[in-house]
Symmetry: C2
DNA sequence: CGCGACGTTGATTTGCCTCAACGATTGTGG
DNA sequence: CCACAATCGTTGAGGCAAATCAACGTCGCG
């Protein structure tokens, strides 16, 4: 159960077996049914979650009520509203299961205790945030510079497995376009390849 | 010279005087003339810089050669291409002085040594990245959901001092619109307020 | 079976871009 | 210290990518 998570960590730092066991002792397994929410706007994000099975989406709503999807998370990804988690203030985001999920979660206080006992773990999480920052920056630039069709093709190339398990209108939202337009983009691509 | 930087750090962790002195010993002051580059695409980002005086911009170029401004940095901000810095691989970004600047820089190896000697410093930088991540996420959402006029008004409210020292076409790029269009947005706003 | 979720299609609209031209200001080398 | 170029902001005409709105077909599921 902890294997891929441990591999994840030991890529950044070395831990002794007892340190690893201590880390495991802080984690709480959680199951989540399709469409149920791990977090809703207004709540404080009390846990960070590592996905061992299933698929989730993190999104926010604009004033008009439109969803903007900020992240998908599948197996071996972490998901949380770090802003709310770190400051322990109400979130503006939703985290929802798109499939039945199994998670390993760590509560806020446990994570702080982990950092006190094993300061090197700060490094693991720092590098994690840096990677997600880099990914967000790439998306930011692509939205500003690439037309919808190129964004969709790049998405297919980077995450070929996602369209197999994620409804198309969520992918449209992730790519910053309407579901109708993504449908038209796909038709144009299909006609090209005839 | 170190005052605001120290205040910055002690907001996240407590350091002894000797730890602080050690940290200072790792920093190198750098001066930068207007329009000169701290980093150019293709180079490896070897330093992280804390701005004690002046103003810089960080940007990338798309295939068509258009600039996309990712960050402005003024006094008391850090600036670097973290992606390139962390992996020590060639950057795709430019960092350029918009005014004559004074910086406190820390080289890659010195930062690693700092983390080895004072692991708690990982926390300082983790929290820094988290804050910049949150800021980028807000910009991301605003570009996807707000029209140009609202983005500009929100920018003025958040950074009222920036238009006084940053050329307008750079602000347009930061807000994800053309300089021509920002000019038209401003005219419409001026006419409203008559 | 009936309903909701999902994807598609077409008609219309629009926010923003592109391109081109033009003043105003700055700064810099002769 | 002036002249000229570069930088910067503005304006207008025209075009386009993508949004909006509305209707419809198809699944899968309770």
């Amino acid at each position: 159960m902890f294997d891929t998570l441990d591999a994840h960590i030991t890529r950044s730092i070395q831990l002794t077996d007892s340190e690893l066991a201590y880390f495991h002792s802080l984690l709480r397994p959680v199951s989540l049914k399709t469409k149920s929410f791990l977090l809703q706007a207004g709540e404080i994000c009390t846990i960070e979650s590592f996905v061992t099975k299933g698929c989730l989406r993190k999104y926010c709503l604009d004033e008009a009520g439109h969803e903007v999807i900020l992240q998908f998370a599948i197996e071996d990804w972490w998901i949380a509203d770090l802003q709310s988690f770190t400051t322990q203030t109400p979130s503006k985001l939703f985290i929802q299961a798109l499939e039945d999920c199994s998670l390993l979660t760590i509560p806020y206080e446990a994570k702080e205790e982990l950092f006190r006992k094993i300061p090197a773990m700060e490094r693991v999480f720092r590098l994690m945030v840096q990677r997600s920052q880099a990914a967000l920056q790439d998306r930011f630039v692509s939205i500003l510079t690439q037309p919808a069709e190129e964004r969709y093709l790049a998405f297919l190339k980077k995450y070929p497995q996602f369209p197999l398990r994620i409804p198309q209108h969520y992918i449209a939202s992730y790519l910053g376009m309407t579901p109708e337009f993504l449908s038209k983009v796909r038709r144009r691509l299909a006609e090209k390849n005839k």
